[in-house]
Symmetry: C2
Subunit: 170 residues, 2 copies
């Protein structure tokens, strides 16, 4: 079970990045995302609509109080940050990643979060993107596999060399 | 030499996603990004400021006419799209990726682009994020190495288990 906790969402300014964080979590094998920051019903609903249409059990929720999400979590807690130690040099991928919380911030992550997690990990140490960091980290957690099949979908892509093909699964 | 071509930028709406695309390209080893769509001096300048501060030779440019960028490119041309064949099942990583153009779209990519490239490749076939797709694809192109050192930087991170540390390189 992999849970992503997205901190500090701001309505308007973060709509699209937060959507990318959520959909990236789903595509690369997370089971659940918890948004914190401003409560943004539109952003949550539009992601839920995509999940309903494309299938799977991915869960999208909102929690105003994010610190208890971290402190009460019983598995391995990872915060992705460019300031952290290199994830490739840490032993995190040897841990029980069946029970993993991945925290991703927006602009400023409060100082105490660095102390509440088990690992602060950099996926690169340059300024780039929490979407990119999350994607690569999940890709490694899942042994370079990218989930293809999502139960109960109304639509799925038929991969194609040159065309946009979709179908309704049986 | 890896070049990223970002199609269809829209001022305002795409500011942050386009910035994430550019910075992700730089972090994961691309040499250059070309933005197309609306000309957005602010977005270009704010990325250039980050590159100037954090170092390296990453080049950021704008081209209104993006089709010639693709048709005149002499190396391998890849378009990342959820509709494409799986990049892991294609032979693209066996090609000469020293000379690679990676095209990433925004909402709608014109039909003819699918025909002008050598490969349409999916990094997953679910709706997610061009930032995530670009990150994972570049990560594979670079054999799971993430560039750490950027020449001429004013600032660099000292990776740390629990602190935000930076220094001015020697």
């Amino acid at each position: 079970m992999i849970t992503v906790l997205r901190l500090g969402h701001r309505r308007g300014r973060d709509d699209r990045i937060s959507s990318h964080v959520g959909l990236t979590a789903r595509q690369f094998g997370a089971d659940k995302i918890i948004f914190s920051g401003e409560h943004d019903e539109n952003m949550l609903e539009s992601q839920q609509d995509i999940v309903d249409r494309w299938g799977g059990e991915f869960e999208i929720t909102y929690r105003e109080a994010y610190r208890p999400v971290i402190t009460e979590f019983e598995g391995t807690r990872v915060h992705l940050t460019m300031y952290g130690e290199s994830f490739r040099e840490s032993d995190v991928l040897e841990q029980d990643i069946d029970d993993l919380l991945i925290v991703v911030g927006s602009q400023k992550v409060p100082r105490d979060i660095y102390e509440k997690v088990d690992y602060n990990l950099g996926v690169g140490h340059q300024p780039h993107s929490e979407v990119a960091a999350l994607a690569v980290f999940l890709y490694e957690c899942n042994g370079h596999q990218i989930p293809q099949s999502f139960d109960g979908a109304d639509i799925e892509v038929i991969p194609s060399e040159q065309h946009k093909k979709t179908r309704r699964p049986d």
